[in-house]
């Protein structure tokens, strides 16, 4: 199968940063290289992503031809591995296929000689004591046409998509919490007010205002907790549906919706506070009204 001729395929060729088996042409091969002098097998192995394997019905062991562009020279390779993509929100909507090759293999395919997009470095002192910062500063002071960045800066930049989505979700969350809070407050006030006659009767048989308020507040709290439980159950079921739907749509292991203990605690607490507040407010308004007035007399 000539993969490069497939019109549907967009291969995003990634430089493989893992230890590279060097090609016959010793590009970048030095005495210090752990693979110095080793010759690659005639047909080299590559790794392809699961999406590509499924769509083109490829399996480990299959042999294919790969090339940079249609019509360009190709190389015969065998599929050594099929890998699952990372659960990365920044890549979730990207539909292209991916292939992982040996560094020199890709350089050769793209006729890029001794070029790389980037490489990672580990400093001897680790991230502590400003070793990394001083290394970055030293590299940048002599850099010509490139720039070194500390990993944390790269991580901040590459997680921007994630942070934007998080901020958006938080904003939507605030709006829905406000809407739900008003709704809950309204419902609880109404449900208490609907029982004006019952409350009047309780007051007339001699129950104190405090007892009535306590009873109503307790009832409101129970309703709020029960409602939260039911809401959490609906949310949990919804998260299963959402995850299975979007994981299938985007073909990713990414978890889109998650009911965490923190979220459950927040929702329950908010609901409880609102319930108790609304119950107390409505009860206080009613017990201040004379029982006969509540009866409509």
């Amino acid at each position: 199968m000539t993969v490069v001729r497939s019109a549907r395929m967009l291969v995003w060729l990634l430089l493989c940063s893992a230890s590279a088996l060097h090609a016959q042409q010793p590009v970048g091969d030095t005495l210090r290289s752990p693979t110095f002098g080793r010759r690659p097998p005639p047909v080299r192995g590559i790794a392809i992503d699961e999406r590509l394997a499924v769509d083109l019905r490829l399996r480990v062991g299959d042999t294919i031809q790969i090339g940079a562009t249609a019509g360009a020279p190709t190389e015969r390779v065998h599929i050594a591995a099929v890998y699952e993509r990372r659960a990365d929100p920044a890549e979730v909507a990207r539909r292209e296929y991916r292939v992982r090759l040996h560094l020199d293999q890709l350089q050769s395919l793209l006729a890029l000689d001794d070029r790389v997009d980037r490489f990672a470095m580990a400093t001897r002192g680790g991230a502590k004591g400003g070793t990394t910062d001083s290394a970055v500063a030293r590299i940048n002071s002599v850099a010509f046409g490139f720039r070194a960045h500390p990993s944390r800066a790269v991580a901040v930049a590459s997680s921007r998509t994630f942070r934007v989505v998080e901020r958006f979700h938080r904003a939507i969350g605030i709006i829905t919490v406000v809407a739900s809070a008003v709704f809950l407050l309204c419902l609880l006030l109404l449900s208490v007010e609907e029982r004006r006659r019952d409350i009047a009767a309780l007051r007339l048989v001699g129950l104190s205002r405090t007892t009535v308020v306590r009873a109503i507040v307790l009832e409101a709290a129970l309703v709020a907790i029960l409602g939260s439980m039911i809401g959490a159950a609906i949310g949990w079921i919804a998260s299963i549906v959402v995850n299975s739907h979007y994981q299938a749509v985007y073909r990713t292991p990414l978890t889109f919706a998650m009911l965490t203990p923190g979220i459950f605690a927040f929702a329950t607490s908010l609901s409880l506070v609102l319930g108790v507040g609304a119950g107390a407010l409505a009860a206080w308004r009613l017990v201040r009204t004379p029982p006969l007035a509540l009866m409509g007399r």
Binding site: L10, A93, E96, F144, F146, V164, F168, I175, A179, E193
Partner: protein, 400 residues
Amino acid sequence: MRLTLATATLKRHPARTLLAILGIAVAAALLLDMVMLATGMSESFRSLLLTRGYQLRIAPKGTLPFDSEATIDGATAIVSALRASPDIKAVSPILGATLSILAAPIPSSFALGLEPVVQGDYQIVHGLDMRETGDVVLDGVASRTLLDRLGAHIGDTITIASGLDAQLRTSARSRRVVLRGEGRFFYVPDETPVLAIPLTALRTMLGERYRDRMSLAMAESRASDSASVEGVRTWIERTQPRITAISTETAIRQVEERLSYFRQLAFVLGAISLGIGFLLVSTLVTLSVNERRGEIAVLRAIGTQTRGVLLQVMLEGAMLTSAGVILGLGLGVVSAQWLNGILRDFPGLPASFDFFVWSAKAAWRSLALLLVSGALAGLLPAWRAASIPVARALRDEAIG
């Protein structure tokens, strides 16, 4: 009369009415935002693609424009063939690459190679447009981000280079560029520094391999109706097997597919807000009807028709919803601006792309939906009110 009675009923419990209006307003605002989100992305993307009238994008086979580093070889022949077509008004070839900037605060910039006469990628904001000259010093148009990062001004000269050798500290090719103007680049994110130079100059800079290459071409069909554009698109794909021609509609479909998450989120939250509005109105009106059984029975007893009571109660629901919707309209526009500000921070999005776009038609449609939902929410309690057995209700009212 009916209106006065409904107003009086709502005024009887001001706190309750106010809370219900507030609840409906928040629901209306959320619904409006979600409708703006669901329709805004397409509209924004459509207007972005049609900024300069080009309805077709021509990209390497199987790719989207600038979605990969793939380029189209034999660009001159393809562009000539397209320009020869009587159905095509203009073609703008584009080559994109990263060029180094020598002795500058930033090591490199994204460069666009364009034909100045037909380019549809930028608009001059300050200064002058570039010219296709064969001089030693090239003309260039820079984005505001590039000018800021370089600390340069219009009229300054910079040196661009390609094929750097980091060990020998030399470049294979370099040119001096005078920054003649500042451009607003339509399709490039705000944070990306961009330099536009003539296409031929960029090809020369990139070396022999790029002598006849382009990343993308934009084409404008003479007839602007979708059928004609689609006809041109089909013709291009049939005659040029190595490229993919994408119409505005196809591009929108593909972007919608990528951003379907937001559309579906908008649909779910829109449905929830409609539900909240419906439940609020129905609960409030039901309670109001229960409280006024005696009053409604008296109205029936003095000759008010069942239909009259039905309309009266439904009117209360509609008034509550209307007040909430009016308030929600303002709230929705404000919150949409806020949410749009958040989403516009997405990396890689063109500067002029918006997620939430105000569309009067879509807004009125969504708010009308909420109004209808509010009126319907009052239907069941209204029916119950109209069906009250008069004698029993009067007796209950009399004996408490």
